[in-house]
């Protein structure tokens, strides 16, 4: 699992790739948080396009980043969810927390 983080006009985008489980989540979350704390973006985007596997550790990751963006008075967006990941996210009712679009969760 790896993450690439880009900042453009107050939008911080984290492109996640690989298998997101408990083992991977720790370092990923540190990397994203460090970048967000530094940049104070208006929007944090988590892009799941290249995530090949995710269990509930990914839900923890999203919930934690939501809390962080609340703290920074910004917004969290989740983009490009593959079908199997959407299934896990739906379980958590995450569509109520984060703005999921463009291949995100739809009712």
């Amino acid at each position: 699992m790896s993450v690439r983080v880009y900042l453009a006009e107050e939008i911080l985008t984290a492109y996640l790739s690989g298998e997101l489980d408990h083992h991977a989540a720790r370092s990923i979350r540190e990397e994203i948080d460090e970048a967000a704390q530094r940049a104070h973006p208006a929007v944090l985007v988590l892009d799941f396009r290249d995530v090949t596997f995710m269990d509930s550790s990914g839900i923890g990751l999203v919930m934690g980043r939501y809390a962080l963006m609340q703290e920074l008075e910004g917004e969290l967006k989740i983009e490009n969810l593959p079908t199997h990941i959407k299934k896990v996210m739906r379980l958590a009712g995450l569509e109520r927390l984060a703005n999921m679009e463009a291949g995100g969760i739809k009712k």
């Binding site: 298998e19 489980d21 408990h22 083992h23 989540a25 979350r29 596997f53 995710m54 269990d55 509930s56 550790s57 839900i59 923890g60 990751l61 919930m63 934690g64 199997h84 896990v88 379980l91 958590a92």
Partner: protein, 145 residues
């Protein structure tokens, strides 16, 4: 009913082995010709159970996790994930969605909810100080041959 095939696996409770465990179980189950979705569901449920054993059962100390899996002629897959860790005091509470005993670790408290939604049956037995066994049963759709 006699199983068509069985396997047994044990490995140290290092978080790096979460990927190994779910992939090994998926490779074994592939013998029943599951769909991609079914295989993903099984991998996800196994990943949840193994993570629970690592984080809660053994509280991140390195001990042994045991997995057995069996496939049956009626397309049933039964996977048992066992630890000899601290055990669960209140199983009903532990299985409640969003309940977590360690929120600081960003555990969503959804492990059992995910297992239950992806499996046909989830059975949990536990004894304090002795360990926990999670038994996952999933019935595969069975493709026309």
């Amino acid at each position: 009913m006699k199983p068509l095939n069985e396997m047994r696996l044990s490995f140290p409770s290092k978080s790096a082995n979460e990927a190994f465990a779910r992939t090994a179980v998926a490779a074994f189950v592939a013998g029943l010709d599951p769909t991609v979705d079914e295989l993903t569901d099984i991998k996800t449920a196994v990943s949840e159970a193994v993570t629970n054993a690592i984080v809660h059962g053994y509280r991140e100390s390195i001990q042994t996790i045991y997995i057995t899996a069996a496939i049956y002629p009626d397309n049933r897959v039964v996977i048992r994930i066992r630890d000899k860790g601290c055990g669960i005091e209140d199983i009903r509470q532990a299985m409640e969605p969003l309940y977590t005993s360690c929120p600081q670790e960003e555990r969503a408290g959804l492990g059992f909810a995910v297992m239950q939604s992806l499996c046909d049956k989830v059975r949990v037995t536990s004894r304090l100080g002795k360990g926990t066994t999670v038994t996952l049963t999933r019935i595969l759709s069975g493709r026309e041959s």
